[in-house]
Amino acid sequence: MEVTGKVLAVYPEKCTGCRLCELVCSVFHDGVSNAMRSRIKIVKWESEGVYIPMVCQQCQDAPCMIVCPVKAISRDDALNRVMVNHDICIGCRSCVAVCPFGAMGFNVIDRKNFKCDLCDGDPQCVRFCEVKAVDYVDAERVSLEKKRAAAGKITAAQRQAIALELETR
């Protein structure tokens, strides 16, 4: 299996809500500090202390790509990402409306849409996130880690079951 399939993996429970990712994203792409321009966004439920990083999932059958009337959006398989060609884009914002994750933004200052481009393979949000609430990993590793975590729970349950059985004997 080819290992170039890196993806941005999000671990919401680790996020401390600092929003440095939003800051570095806007500085890296636009040279300005402005959270509104960030491709990644920390969505918060402050009264519960819940912070969820939201970012483009780089879908295979991307709704933005399908809906685009001028085919300005395409997949870049080398980096496993969805890209917008602004020379073709007419700024109709259909992609913004259709994205199920709200990951396609529209910048009111430059009047252009914008989305995560994985910083051409070195995502700055990952680079600056000390707690690794966002990480850039091989796709197969994401599911491996989840498998291990789930397996861990099963093992614990099994151990409990065995202990219980021994006790009742």
Binding site: L23, G31, S47, V131
Partner: protein, 646 residues
């Protein structure tokens, strides 16, 4: 660009709003944040004004680097004449308000007058609107914030608000943002309340151009490595500030039973690890939260695990809450700590002042100076958890004779209570000391005695003095950017060299407060963290402005002197027990009774303390009365103040 953020003058009496740029010459003299606030306060107020009258001026600001890539530029600074001690009122809080204010186009707000009815300010992309807040009046800190978001239909709005304590003009009411970020000490919430100003709501999507984005990113990355590699920050990021409690209480630096003891015993339940356990159980293994752009993530999230408040979400509790609700009143229940912390957060009360004053009242009650008549039957003995929490509520709502009296702060309360109650009040310049006991640590004693906003640890405390660092390490830190070849001692019980350390820290903290950076990102708790040598680069990459480390030092010294000038104008006298650079007599007369072998039995030596003050005044360029010499004012470019340039 950070430099094009504006200053707004808002007159709540007339509704007039004026917006101006901040001239570059002003930036070069005062940077921004607390320093520029000090300039504005000195220039926009007259001597002897009523702090709760319309003539007081409330200043709200971000620092020069707020919302840029300078790491942890989350701090909002608030200033006014203090209703607590009548000296400079100053509060600094984390969270997300200042960056939002900067994205909305503003760095400084100058709020004057008094609104006829409760109002709030709505600041959005360069525009400021005064809005009706009658339906917000009476609401708690978080209720107010969520109601504003609902009213304006934007979940991203960040607000700085007051709770019931501010509305009730409790003289140590906080301004608050988020769940628990507090602009505490000196009653800035009461000043807001006196102006009928319930909240300031901000939302902005305006670009802040970064002068050298690539360099700023790379330098920020280097900064992060420096900040996260410091052991102290790793501990902060795991246990939060309560970790300081564990260490400080073990050697005997925590006030207990007001000022009777310097250590709390049998308090395992409120040790940092125990608090961490509650957070893990009620929130999960990842329960630390951050302010804007910060990697220290020192704020714990928790739910109250038991009792009538079971399940309620809050954040903290900080080291200061442990002092306020455990050490000083000698209560030992974690539930009391977590509930007390929740109450002050929701009411918008300063936890330090609240805890200190209640502990003081408890001592007076046990001495018979206060009786059941004054407490309305409340059994205000040390260690009575229920009475403690009841008093917190009474203070916030000014309920009962004692609730109303303590809400006035220690100076007025001691007059009302009479007898010799003042002798037991642990305060400087009308501001209660935090819960730390400085009898064994002359450097820290000098710090609380001379801090500009009254007894306080965040204005000049050389906290690393407790680490017994080798002399060459101390010299490396304390002899830049200005040379110092006097003595330095690794011994925390010593007097020599300490005045210079306090002077150095005073300038260091002023510099970060002007830049809008958190103190956990400088030489406060960690000796290896960024200081004067690093900031010029951060400022240059982010704003394009060029400074040398020495120039930043000079600016800090200038701004500190402005705070001094304000205090002198309001009547600061060196040895005045009410408004001087003076400690309560107990520091000199009552030896410590607990703690490590080198701590127990200590007092501050009166003569040596005097000498420390003399030396400290010397470094600051003050005469023996604490008044700046003419040549000092000239050197700092302050000979024509107030100069009314902005």
């Amino acid at each position: 660009m950070a430099l094009n953020r504006k200053i707004a003058y808002i007159d709540l009496s007339t509704g007039k709003i004026e917006i101006k740029p901040i001239p570059i010459e002003i930036r070069k003299k005062f940077l921004g944040g607390r320093g520029l606030d000090a300039y504005l306060l000195y220039n926009h107020t007259k001597k002897g004004i009523d702090p709760l009258g319309p003539e007081n001026v409330l200043l709200v600001s971000g620092g020069l680097l707020t919302a840029t890539l300078a790491s942890a530029t989350a701090r909002t600074h608030v200033m006014a004449k203090s209703p607590l001690g009548g000296m400079i009122g100053s509060a600094n809080m984390g969270g997300f308000f200042a960056p939002e204010l900067a994205w909305a186009g503003f760095h400084h707000l100058v709020i004057k007058g008094k609104a006829e009815k409760p109002v709030y300010l709505w600041i959005h992309n360069g525009k400021i609107e005064v809005r009706d807040a009658r339906n917000l009046w009476g609401r708690t800190v978080t209720e107010t914030q969520w109601a504003i978001r609902e009213e304006l239909g934007d979940e991203e709005i960040k607000s700085m608000v007051i709770g019931p304590a501010g509305e009730n003009l409790v003289r140590f009411a906080n301004v608050m943002t988020g769940i628990k970020n507090s602009g505490g000490r000196t009653g800035m919430g009461a000043v807001m309340g006196s102006k009928n100003l319930k909240a300031i709501a901000a939302r902005g999507t305006m670009d802040i151009k970064i002068a050298h984005p690539k360099e700023a990113l790379e330098y920020n990355k280097r900064f992060i490595d420096q900040i996260t590699s410091a052991k102290v920050n790793q501990t902060q990021g795991t246990l939060g500030t309560p970790f300081i409690w564990g260490a400080t209480n073990s050697w005997g630096g925590i006030r207990c039973r007001n000022f009777q003891y310097n250590q709390q015993l049998y308090c395992d339940e409120i040790e940092p690890e125990a608090i961490d356990e509650v957070c893990t159980q009620t929130v999960g293994p990842y329960h630390m939260a951050s302010c804007f752009g910060c990697q220290v993530h020192c704020r714990a999230k928790y739910r109250i695990p038991s009792g009538p408040y079971k399940g309620v979400y809050d954040e903290g509790p900080e080291y200061t809450s442990q002092g306020a609700f455990c050490g000083e009143p000698d209560c030992r229940s974690i539930e009391t700590l977590l509930v007390g912390n929740h109450l002050v957060n929701q009411f918008g009360l300063d936890n330090l002042e609240t805890g200190s004053l209640i502990a003081w009242a408890m001592e007076l009650y046990e001495l018979g100076i206060l009786t059941d008549k004054e407490t309305d039957g409340l059994d205000l003995r040390f260690g009575n958890d229920e009475a403690l929490l009841e008093m917190v509520k009474r203070i916030a709502f000014r309920k009962g004779w004692l609730g109303d009296t303590l809400a006035e702060g220690g100076l007025i309360a001691s007059e009302r209570i009479g007898k010799n109650s003042f002798d037991y009040l642990i305060q400087v310049k009308g501001v209660s000391n935090l819960h730390s006991d400085e009898r064994a640590t002359p450097a820290l004693a000098l710090n609380v005695a001379t801090a500009s906003r009254g007894s306080d640890h965040l204005r000049s405390r050389p906290a690393i003095d407790l680490y017994h660092l080798p002399e060459p390490v101390l010299r490396k830190i304390y002899s830049t950017p200005v040379p110092y070849d006097g003595p330095l001692s690794s011994e925390h019980t010593e007097y020599v060299g300490k005045p210079w350390q306090v002077f150095w820290q005073e300038n260091c903290y002023m510099a970060v407060d002007c830049l809008g950076i958190c103190k956990y990102h400088t030489v406060f708790l960690g000796a290896t963290l960024p200081n004067f040598e690093d900031w010029p680069k951060v400022i240059y990459y982010n704003t394009g402005l060029e400074f040398t480390p020495r120039e930043l030092w000079d600016i800090a010294e200038r701004c500190n002197m402005l705070e001094r000038l304000f205090n002198l104008r309001e009547g600061l006298k060196r040895e005045d027990p009410y408004r001087g650079d003076m400690l309560n007599h107990r520091y000199f007369d009552e030896p410590t009774r607990r703690g490590a072998p080198d701590v127990v039995g200590r007092v501050i030596d009166r003569e040596k303390f005097k000498k420390m003050i003399d030396e400290f005044y010397g470094y600051k360029g003050l005469d023996e009365n604490g008044v700046p010499k003419p040549e000092t004012l000239k050197r700092l470019g302050l000979e024509n103040e107030p100069s009314h340039l902005l």
